[in-house]
């Protein structure tokens, strides 16, 4: 009581925009131990902890921040790991302003405590001294297949290992990590950070099988025969394309293709790496979410691109992207055209030359509370472009459950599960993450992975 609140947060060191747009290295440099302690001291240690309630997996935030303020960094990381096994990842990619930091009491009078940056600091610090192996319960003799090596799969596998089950993780691509490696760019989440989490899982006993497409290489039925339970965490790998004229012109990409070429296949190092990316001089990115920001900021860094324009149909206020991504994109020179709806792609000789758009205004909030964009007749105009990337969201990739009639699916193709156990309508088969949601966040998917691990454990030990 009576303690003075420091209203300004200790800034997280970042590389200046002019420098960082020349490469794909991480933008945020992270706190030094000294800065982390200083920032941690701003936390009021509120007993009602609204930050914890606002966290999808209820990380014990005041506790880990207190440990940082006392210089006990490794203990801080392990405190976080009680609820979230990947602090280095979540500290970098969670939409904190809508979760923990949005609820922070300090934020009511000044800037909220930099919970995300402190979380990443703790995770990185622990990694630098080496992870502590977790205690494994008595071996159960049960084997579980985890399909997909993204956030949901990683979290599920870790808990299953802890509970004494054998785990085999199946990954369709040649590298593990799912959206964390093919989707989120290196400058926001270095692949090295993801790799150390996966290496740790393997060290703890998980088996990783790359180049294995469940549903094709082996069917789900075969897997259910070979394993005692199966978890599906295959993500939302089905790009939504705009159903407009010209979508097949050369130069038009889905965000998934664009990001996969650059992040997973390392097209930014072409021809040292074999996979190319074409952008031309002018790039238009369509969408207002984190993926759209990732695409725009990636494009800025590619050698051919000179002008990058982001087109979004609502206003900046409605953008689903993290505030920090929007700020970073603007600092890096991305031009924002909001209240703008793309209506068709125009081209010549099979190649894109522009994106025709129409201006929009927002309606009054509808029954869902959202303000819809309404096109203004006669306001059509063309943004000249050599390349356009569609980043308007994802659906659930159906490949893994294709032809498996027992698995109930929702209207948008998402896998339907029991909300408590996350078991599907096929006994022994569980699912979580974007596969059941069609598009959410890393932290929510990790929460699902853990929940499913509990459901699987119960199923394996107590039956249905």
């Amino acid at each position: 009581m009576g303690r003075e609140i420091r209203k300004e947060r200790v800034p997280v060191p970042e590389r200046p925009p002019q420098e960082r747009i020349k490469d794909f290295k991480e933008v945020k440099l992270g706190y030094s131990p000294q800065l982390a302690v200083e920032e941690a001291k701003r936390c009021l240690q509120c007993s009602h902890s609204p930050c914890v309630k606002a966290c999808p997996v209820n990380v014990p935030i005041p506790q880990f921040i207190k440990l940082i303020s006392e210089g006990r960094f490794v203990e801080a990381a392990r405190k976080i790991k009680e609820e979230n096994i990947m602090p280095s990842v979540c500290g970098r990619v969670c939409p904190q302003e809508r979760q923990c930091e949005g609820a922070c009491v300090v934020g009511k009078v000044g800037e909220p405590v930099a919970i995300g940056a402190l979380e990443a600091f703790a995770g990185d610090h622990e990694a630098s001294v080496g992870y502590e192996k977790f205690k494994i319960e008595k071996k159960s003799g049960k084997r579980v297949a985890v399909v997909g090596s993204g956030p949901a799969g990683i979290a599920c596998a870790a808990d299953l290992l802890r509970l004494g089950h054998d785990v085999v993780i199946f990954e369709a691509l040649h590298e593990a990590g799912g959206v964390l490696v093919y989707g989120i760019p290196e400058f926001r989440l270095p692949n090295e950070v993801v790799k150390r989490e996966l290496d740790f899982l393997v060290e703890m006993g998980a088996e990783l099988r790359l180049n294995f497409v469940v549903g094709k290489t082996k069917s789900l039925y075969q897997l259910l025969k070979e394993f005692d339970a199966v978890f599906i965490g295959t993500g939302a790998g089905l790009p939504k394309l705009l159903n407009v004229e010209g979508v097949n012109l050369n130069g038009v990409y889905s965000a998934n293709e664009f990001l996969t070429r650059v992040n997973l296949m390392k097209a930014y190092l072409f021809p040292y790496y074999d996979t190319p990316i074409f952008t031309g001089r002018r790039v238009v990115v369509i969408g207002g979410g984190n993926t759209a920001m990732d695409v725009a900021r990636t494009a800025v860094r590619l050698p051919e691109a000179e002008e990058v324009t982001l087109v979004y149909r609502r206003s900046e206020e409605e953008m689903p992207a993290r505030a920090e991504e929007v700020r970073h994109a603007k600092e890096e020179g991305v031009v924002f055209k909001t209240l703008t709806i793309p209506v068709r792609f125009v081209g010549r000789d099979g190649w894109l030359t522009g994106v025709e758009c129409v201006r929009a205004e927002l309606s009054e909030p509808d029954e869902t509370g959202r303000r819809r964009p309404i096109p203004i007749p006669g306001s059509e105009f063309i943004i000249e472009a050599d390349c356009a990337v569609i980043a308007i969201g994802q659906g659930t990739n159906p490949l893994v459950v294709e032809g498996v009639k027992e698995v109930k699916r929702g209207s948008r193709g998402e896998i339907v599960v029991d909300p408590e156990s996350l078991m599907t309508s096929l006994p022994g088969l569980f699912a979580g993450g974007d596969a059941i949601r069609g598009g959410s966040t890393v932290i929510v998917s990790m929460g699902d992975g853990r929940k499913a691990a509990r459901g699987i454990h119960k199923y394996l030990t107590q039956g249905l």
Partner: protein, 285 residues
């Protein structure tokens, strides 16, 4: 790593590789493909499965030297291993007892055609196979196709072997003579387009196996999108085979040009650095 257990040069351009991939050998059906990545810095390319031997755990792929990746692979010999291989991908061919089927393969298109012929033969179909090449030295697998085909026609553009001309000429004669229940083709886009146009007036069931650019091969990226019956389809998961009469071949042909400029750069860069090391030292350069 996926070991090459047998390599055979079939022509100056095409080589046949038998590769150890037990899971793929077990599950692969006619019409399906794999995606390979030759080395740790390689791109992902799709190759149709030409044959499989489940008991040996192997599949057969045919590779034509067209760009950096395929030239690089041609450096690999028996005993070498390629970095990544995933599959079987795509929907299998609809294998039915059609009756009389004409299979048309142009050049490397013979890879899927061979596997499809095997599947159709097992069901008791009568097969006529038309295989087209530019010239005599490029002809391959005539012996293997002869084992499956009830009737076999080889054409070369320059007439240096078999019948002179394009595959469409014998195909037209067969269609005119009647009693054709289905036509399945695979090969260069202009050939498939010609087969589609030729068969259309006869109302015969026609299928084309498409070969667009792919990245992941699981429906995630949409690089392989093609226009079929006015709709956008992903060749990797909805295909690679489609009703030939509904495919927009001009669209496919255009999209295949998307990275031409870069393919040339990659090829030049490879030729400058290629040392004949059979791929082993490449990783370190």
């Amino acid at each position: 790593m996926f070991r090459i257990v047998e390599k055979r040069e079939l022509s100056p351009l095409v080589a046949q590789y038998v590769i150890e991939a037990p899971h793929v050998a077990e599950s692969a059906k006619p019409g399906q493909f794999v995606i390979i990545r030759v080395t740790g810095r390689g791109e992902r390319i799709p190759l149709t499965i030409a044959d499989r031997e489940p008991s040996a755990g192997t599949i057969t792929l045919m590779v034509q030297k067209v760009g950096k990746t395929t030239y690089h692979l041609s450096c690999f010999e028996e005993g070498n291993a390629i970095r990544d291989l995933v599959g079987p991908l795509g929907r299998p061919t609809e294998l039915r007892r059609w009756g009389r089927v004409i299979l048309v393969g142009g050049g490397l298109g013979l890879a899927p055609i061979h596997h499809i012929a095997k599947g159709l033969k097992e069901l008791g179909n009568t097969l006529t196979v038309i295989m087209g090449f530019r010239s005599r030295e490029l002809v391959f697998w005539e012996d293997r196709m002869a084992l499956l085909a009830d009737e076999l026609v080889v054409t070369t553009n320059d007439g240096s072997y078999g019948r002179k001309g394009l595959v469409t000429e014998p195909l037209k004669e067969l269609l005119e003579a009647g009693a054709v229940d289905a036509v399945i083709c695979a090969g260069p886009v202009p050939m498939m387009k010609a087969v589609a146009e030729l068969t259309r007036p006869y109302g015969v069931h026609a299928v084309a196996s498409l070969n667009p650019i792919m990245v992941d091969g699981t429906g995630m990226c949409g690089a392989c999108r093609v226009r079929v019956g006015g709709e956008i389809k992903f060749a990797c998961v909805d295909g690679p085979e489609f009703n030939a009469h509904e495919v927009d071949f001009d669209d496919l042909s255009n999209r295949l040009k998307m990275f031409k400029k870069y393919e040339e750069i990659a090829m030049r860069s490879f030729q400058e650095r290629c040392c004949g090391c059979r791929g082993e030292r490449w990783e370190g350069r």
